[in-house]
């Protein structure tokens, strides 16, 4: 499942569904709204392109790390401190591939998926700067 959506997800159900035949390891990445002296966080996506790019990343990770299953759910809309932002579930035969595949996916998402975050504070708000100068690599 590769999605951009406002709703939260049932992480336990995703982990169960990731246990495909041959699975020896499931790795979950759960990115969470951190309390950086903010009230809420507003997330915005170029949804069609974001999903297409995450599908491309999932295919590349599956091939490179021999993953058996990949879920990527990136939330949008207004989130509170402690809410889930990004859930990545991968399964593989062994832990090195599962860990490496999960790490690859999050780093690639940060480079190229058109999603933006605005931290809302008591005094207004501030857009979180991208970690990569250009982002949205060659699509």
């Amino acid at each position: 499942m590769i999605r951009v959506q406002a709703e939260d997800v049932n992480i336990g159900a995703l982990i169960e569904a990731a246990k495909r035949p041959g699975t020896g390891a499931v790795v979950l990445f759960d990115g969470i709204v951190r309390d950086d002296d903010i009230t809420e966080m507003e997330l915005e996506a170029y949804a069609e392109v974001a999903v297409a790019e995450m599908e491309k990343i999932a295919r590349a990770a599956t091939e490179q790390f021999r993953l058996l299953h990949v879920d990527i759910i990136h939330r949008i809309g207004r989130l509170r401190v402690g809410d889930n932002i990004l859930i990545i579930v991968v399964s593989a035969g062994h832990r090195p591939e599962a860990y490496a595949g999960s790490r690859y996916i999050i780093e690639e998402i940060k480079k190229s998926v058109p999603i933006w975050k605005k931290e809302l504070t008591k005094d207004g708000g501030r857009w979180v700067p991208g970690e990569h100068g250009h982002g949205a690599g060659k699509l």
């Binding site: 990115g31 069609e48 940060k110 933006w116 949205a136």
Partner: protein
């Protein structure tokens, strides 16, 4: 012809989004973005520098595919195009 412009994040706050325009044949992509951006001084200044060139960090897409800003002055828009303009991504 009709073309849709979509701005995101800070650019959306300044200029709006899902803007439908009706450019004449032969309109260049860069000129179209500049024309729409000019309706808001801060929005224009966020995207273009003093020389009217796209700022280095601005990302352009045409129909979901990346277009180098340096080439946007040579590409003509076509009927039904969706042009997206946004700052560096910050998801995850």
């Amino acid at each position: 012809m009709t073309v849709k412009l979509r701005f995101f994040a800070r650019f959306r706050e300044l200029l709006g989004t899902d803007i439908i325009v009706e450019p004449h044949d032969g309109t260049l992509l860069a000129a179209l973005v500049a024309e729409v951006a000019r309706k808001n001084t801060d929005g224009y200044a966020a995207i273009f520098d003093e020389q009217g060139t796209f700022r280095e960090f601005v990302i352009l897409m045409r129909n979901g595919k990346r277009v180098e800003t340096a080439e946007a002055g040579t590409i003509t828009v076509a009927d039904g195009d969706e042009i997206a303009v946004f700052p560096p991504v910050a998801g995850g």
